[in-house]
């Protein structure tokens, strides 16, 4: 069965993830530039120590300067900064390798060959998929080509033994290990961006769910009319107290109109506000939009929450049916209870059809919350599960 793990991912995730990543990308770009700057200083020192020719010093230093200038330019250009920084990152990755290979070809010694590894380390700061692929590829290709095309680089004083094969093997192993290492690391980091974005969306949805269940329980809705009337009285008294004209009243009137009037009519009636201002005022509207209600719910529940360091790195924070150390029976029973509940009507969610349950369990993150052996049994025998539920729950609860 082919999995589509993103099939049930919240649609809002990607855009928010980008904004999360951007903040980190800016920081990493700054660190990268600092490292390149330090490296340039060290290389300059060496070039002066060995009394390298002016041409060599100028050409190598120019490469460093160009690399830094590209980064500064992309960083400064504010429009679509996320993609700008990504492009700068790819150029920087290749740029660092170009400088390393130039140094190796210039000095042709085994000691300078290791600058390729340093280039890899510097580019690893970015911790990003495409950069990782680019960096590993650059390291592999440049390393192999240098070993095969310029074996004299590795000639050691006082020995004639050829090391080419072993250097090649070690290089391959090194690159493979680095690739796997960065692959796993980046996957987990990306997963965390995902998790964080996911939980932000999940919060909105859980508040909506709470509102929905509360409405079923109380069968009542927010008394919006009373809210606006009270706000009006409050604004009159407040204006009196602070000695200003009642600037709130017009906005409260606008808030009331937002429910029934189209935006064009609003703009015609409230000529003192432009579209951006009206869009902002919309957040306060209580009947159609729920932003202020969400803020109220969150504000009423967020106090008294403390997070200890122990909890930060605890795997128990990940809710699942396959906790490390739990007995197999517990893993089975917990999953079965969950599955059976999905098949029953609940006030907030009707019973799900078998096909739907199977599709979600296969193509969403829930697949990974269930023990692999157990989910495999389910996926291969889901119709049996369905039949058992139907047989027992016939005629409702």
């Amino acid at each position: 069965m082919k999995q589509e793990t993103n099939k049930y991912q919240f649609a809002q995730l990607e855009i928010y993830k980008e904004s999360l990543e951007l903040a980190h990308l800016k920081r990493k770009t700054k660190i990268f530039m600092s490292l390149v700057f330090i490296l340039a200083g060290i290389v300059l020192y060496f070039l002066l120590q060995i009394s390298a020719s002016n041409d060599t010093v100028i050409s190598i230093m120019t490469m460093f300067l160009v690399l830094l200038a590209i980064n500064v330019a992309f960083y400064s250009y504010d429009d679509d900064l996320y993609n700008n920084l990504k492009i700068a990152m790819y150029i920087s990755t290749l740029g660092v390798y170009v400088i390393a290979v130039s140094l190796i070809l210039q000095f042709q010694s085994p000691s300078i060959f290791t600058s390729l590894f340093l280039a890899y380390a510097i580019t690893s700061i970015f911790q990003e998929y495409k950069t990782m692929i680019l960096s590993n590829f650059a390291l592999f290709i440049s390393g192999i080509l240098l070993v095969l095309r310029f074996p004299e680089i590795f000639q050691i004083v006082g020995t004639n033994e050829s090391q080419t094969f072993f250097i090649l093997v070690f290089l391959i192993i090194f690159v493979l290990l680095l690739t796997l290492s960065s692959y796993i690391l980046i996957k987990r980091k990306t997963f965390f961006y995902n998790q964080l974005a996911d939980i932000k969306e999940s919060e909105v949805r859980n508040m909506e769910l709470l509102l929905e269940i509360e409405n079923i329980k109380t069968n009542s809705h927010l008394d919006v009319k009373e809210y606006y009337e009270t706000l009006n009285k409050f604004s009159v008294e407040l204006s009196k107290k602070i000695g200003i004209e009642n600037v709130f009243q017009r906005k409260i009137e606008l808030l009331k109109d937002l429910k029934n009037k189209k935006i064009d009519d609003i703009l015609l009636k409230y000529t003192e506000y432009n579209i951006d201002e009206i869009n902002e005022i919309k957040y306060m509207e209580l009947e159609v939009r729920k932003k202020m209600i969400m803020i109220g719910i969150k504000a009423s529940k967020s106090h008294g929450i403390e997070v200890s360091r122990k909890e930060i790195f605890s795997e128990s924070q990940f809710k699942s049916f396959k906790h490390f150390g739990d007995a197999h029976y517990v893993k089975i029973i917990s999953f079965v209870v969950f599955y059976t509940l999905l098949k029953l009507d609940k006030p907030y969610l009707p019973a799900l059809e078998e096909e739907r349950v199977k599709d979600i369990l296969l193509n969403s993150e829930y697949f990974y919350r269930i023990d692999r052996e157990i989910i495999d049994v389910y996926l291969e025998n889901n119709m049996v599960f369905d039949t058992i539920v139907k047989d027992h729950m016939k005629g409702g609860r």
Partner: protein
């Protein structure tokens, strides 16, 4: 091998322990390659024939021991042993002969340590390996000087600076990655707790709905219990010959719903097995906001309609949500009104019946954690005019 590749491809969904286990498995595969390579390479070594035979054998034993540790789920110990093994291998390679490929192993060893992504391990083992590498170059640098090098000293310094640079750059990477990771994790755990609070309330409402309708709660329903039991037995038949054993545990699971779990868990007279299962089942009970209940609520949010994303969708700070001063004050008044009018708290009997009083709201507004919602400026405005808030909202 297919299983390992699958696990690598889905490594983000593994638990910390599973990832560590996977990493040890990968490193062990690479270490086997190095140990295997040490046999042909022994031709270049200055060691005696016996040493060249005994050493690979000892390394193989170390690797087998690593695998055994993994088998017993002692993954952290296995990680340490694998690092020690590669460090010893490096010492063996660079000690036996003076070849450039031997020197490359310092970088490979550092990479293995980096692979484990543990800052303390990197500082200790990585620091030791780097120090050993520098010492090795100081002592034997002359033996790996290239024929084109400008001199022993320059070659030696280049080797040292690049090795130390490699170590330091990865250390910087560790620090950045750790701080990002910790910050994200912290926020994630905090948000998880907030979510749990919403879910506590949702569950309480559901219990009250069932109470009002005089409906049995689902875990008390016999049909439901039988369904769970039968499916569990069915699954268990794939793993045990006598699949029925699990039925007793299903019964125990439902039995726990009517018990004081804390008493069972802390009662030393109760058998260890009963307490163990009580602790494990606690996470999945249905009469409290357990993990299972949270997962179920989260699952149900998949069926909500998808609102369009807007820039401030996850913004709850009134100061950031609004740019206009009047809007900021008006929204503060709405927030106050909401907290004072709507039922958002448990009363002393554990029912959701309570609204916040003016004093409680004031306490909230001035609290440090409330800066997430309103600014100092807004708090000051509120404090200056709180009698109006209290009287008219």
């Amino acid at each position: 091998m297919k299983a390992i590749i699958n696990r690598i491809l889905n490594s983000e969904f593994l638990t910390f322990n599973e990832v560590l286990r996977l990493k040890v498995a990968i490193v062990t595969v690479f270490l086997f390659v190095f140990v295997f390579l040490s046999i042909p390479l022994s031709n270049f070594n200055d060691f005696t024939f016996n040493i060249n035979i005994v050493v690979p054998a000892v390394f193989s034993l170390l690797l087998i021991f690593t695998l055994l540790l993994m088998l017993f789920n002692l993954n952290r110990w296995a990680m340490h042993l694998s690092i020690i093994t590669i460090s010893l291998l490096t010492a063996y390679y660079v000690g036996g002969s003076n070849h450039f490929y031997g020197y490359m192993l310092f970088f490979v060893t550092l990479t293995v340590i980096i692979f484990y992504q543990d800052v303390i391990t990197y500082l200790l083992y990585g620091g030791a390996i780097t120090a050993y590498g520098v010492f090795y170059i100081i002592e034997n640098g002359a033996s790996i000087v290239g024929i084109n090098s400008t001199g022993v000293e320059m070659s030696s310094i280049t080797y040292q600076i690049i090795l130390v640079g490699f170590y330091l750059v990865f250390l910087v990477q560790f620090i950045i990655s750790d701080s990002i990771y910790e910050k994200m994790n912290n926020e994630w755990v905090r948000m998880n707790k907030v979510l749990e609070k919403y879910q506590d309330f949702s569950l309480e409402f559901l219990i009250e709905i069932a109470d009002e309708k005089e409906q049995d709660l689902i875990y008390k329903n016999h049909k439901f219990q039988q369904t769970v039991s039968e499916i569990s037995v069915f699954i268990n038949e794939f793993f045990e010959e006598d699949g029925d054993n699990i039925a007793e545990f299903v019964e125990f699971y439902f039995f726990l719903h009517d018990q004081n779990l804390e008493e069972i868990i802390t009662d030393k007279t109760v058998s260890a097995l009963t307490r163990k299962y009580s602790i494990e089942f606690q996470k999945y009970l249905l009469n409290t906001r357990s993990e299972l209940v949270s997962i179920l609520f989260n699952f149900s949010t998949l069926f909500q309609k998808d609102d369009e994303y807007e820039e401030k969708r996850y913004e709850y700070d009134l100061d950031k949500l609004f740019t206009n001063k009047i809007d900021k004050l008006l929204s503060l008044a709405i927030l106050y009104k909401y907290l004072k009018t709507e039922i958002t708290q448990y009363d002393k009997w554990g029912k959701i019946e309570k609204v916040l009083s003016h004093e409680e709201i004031t306490e909230l507004f001035v609290s440090k954690e409330f800066r997430e919602f309103i600014s100092f400026e807004q708090v000051n405005f509120y404090l200056d005019n709180q009698e109006l808030f209290d009287k008219y909202l």
